[in-house]
Symmetry: C2
Subunit: 239 residues, 2 copies
């Protein structure tokens, strides 16, 4: 009769129940209690353990799934992802897709910086096999007139370079920054100006720098490539 009104410390009084659940699960992983690839308790059990309803558990799991931390397999269970990049890319891509105006330019600026660096790293580390793959996409891109196919090979071209840079995280970020719809939106108008030729020239320059194992040349070529799109976009929305 003396501690009911004054304070009830046990049931943590912060934020919403779901928010707390997210923190709890996140903490479990952070503390190593949950290893990547490991299976979590069932939603029902988690609800009991955390003292919350299954609905709230589901929302927490959904949130962590979106973040790329957890993965739910229907009929099997919930698992901790390998956190192997490419998992956080989805969120990043969504933001990129929804960005407009000045934000788009900023995104492109970030991409230019990372793409340049990736190209420089790739020039130093790329394997003959990877170089051949890059060349393949370059050739395929030049051999067709179908915009969709060109776009696909363009994406693959850059993806291959990012992979060759040896930094999966950077590759994942670039992947998000070059998400399909994002790219499609920008290219729609860009290519109408007959920018194909310039694009081909720039891609060829990047490929040449990679083949020559010249990091600085690759950095410059990649930077110029993205910079061109940047310039076009700036002119577009500007005056």
């Amino acid at each position: 009769m003396n501690e009911s009104p004054p304070a009830g410390p046990p049931p943590a009084p912060k934020g919403t129940v779901t928010q707390r659940a997210i923190e709890r699960i996140k903490a479990m992983i952070g503390e190593g209690l949950l290893e990547p690839g490991q299976r979590l308790p069932t939603e029902r059990d988690l609800g009991v353990q955390l003292g919350i309803s299954r609905s709230s558990v589901r929302e927490a799991v959904r949130a962590l799934t979106v973040m790329g931390v957890l993965e739910a397999r229907h009929g099997s269970g919930i698992y901790v992802t390998q956190l192997q990049a490419g998992d956080l890319l989805e969120t990043f891509g969504v933001v990129a897709d929804l960005s407009r105006g000045p934000r788009l330019l900023e995104l492109l600026e970030v991409r230019r910086v990372l793409e340049s660096t990736a190209a420089a790293l790739a020039a130093a580390r790329i394997t003959p096999g990877q170089l051949e793959a890059v060349g393949g996409h370059l050739a395929a891109m030049n051999a067709t007139d179908d915009p969709d196919e060109i776009l696909a090979h363009d994406l693959a071209f850059h993806r291959e370079i990012a992979a060759a840079a040896g930094n999966e995280t950077m590759a994942a970020i670039l992947e998000g920054l070059s998400s399909r719809t994002f790219r499609t939106r920008v290219w729609r108008g860009y290519q109408e100006e007959g920018a194909y030729a310039r694009t081909r020239r720039e891609h060829a320059a990047i490929h040449r720098a990679l083949a020559a194992r010249d990091p600085e040349a690759a950095r410059a070529a990649a930077g110029a490539h993205v910079g061109e799109v940047e310039r076009w976009l700036r002119d577009q929305g500007g005056p």
Copy 2:
């Protein structure tokens, strides 16, 4: 009696219901039907519109909330965010916090690249007021011995520079890459080696380059700064 078994086109048969709901809402925003700051229909109404239950709507909203696209205000309604960067930082920070081993190094490498660029941009654009703020954090950092306070001013120091670079998106990414717990974890051991002096020297060098409006010097100083932490971390987990 003749179209029940053959085909049911209206209820698109792809993915889970929640996933579809996410796409639908995302599309509404992408197509401009939902302006930033605008209020969405209630969860109950959305359920009716999309032909799904409120539970599923809630999960979809939760997912988009985590992505920083929506914001739910208890008792008021669901709103579209301004997509003003800093919203996607949370997810990015979580990933950074949970990363381990090689992934951590990759993250740091990305940070080095962006931090260098931000410093270079800041050197060209920084205002006297911002420069003073940077100097203030530098002085405050050198004036105390409390690790927590040092960390706080360290974060503010870099945040101020990122802001001065004039690219909010880049600043948001750097913010996520320097999230509190991430930083704390790395610094715990780093500072034990009496790295304070070196950190102070490096920070001073960055500040000097900014004051001199020398982009290349700022780029080099910032790159070296992050690179030092990188080197230490590599030595740590290596042999």
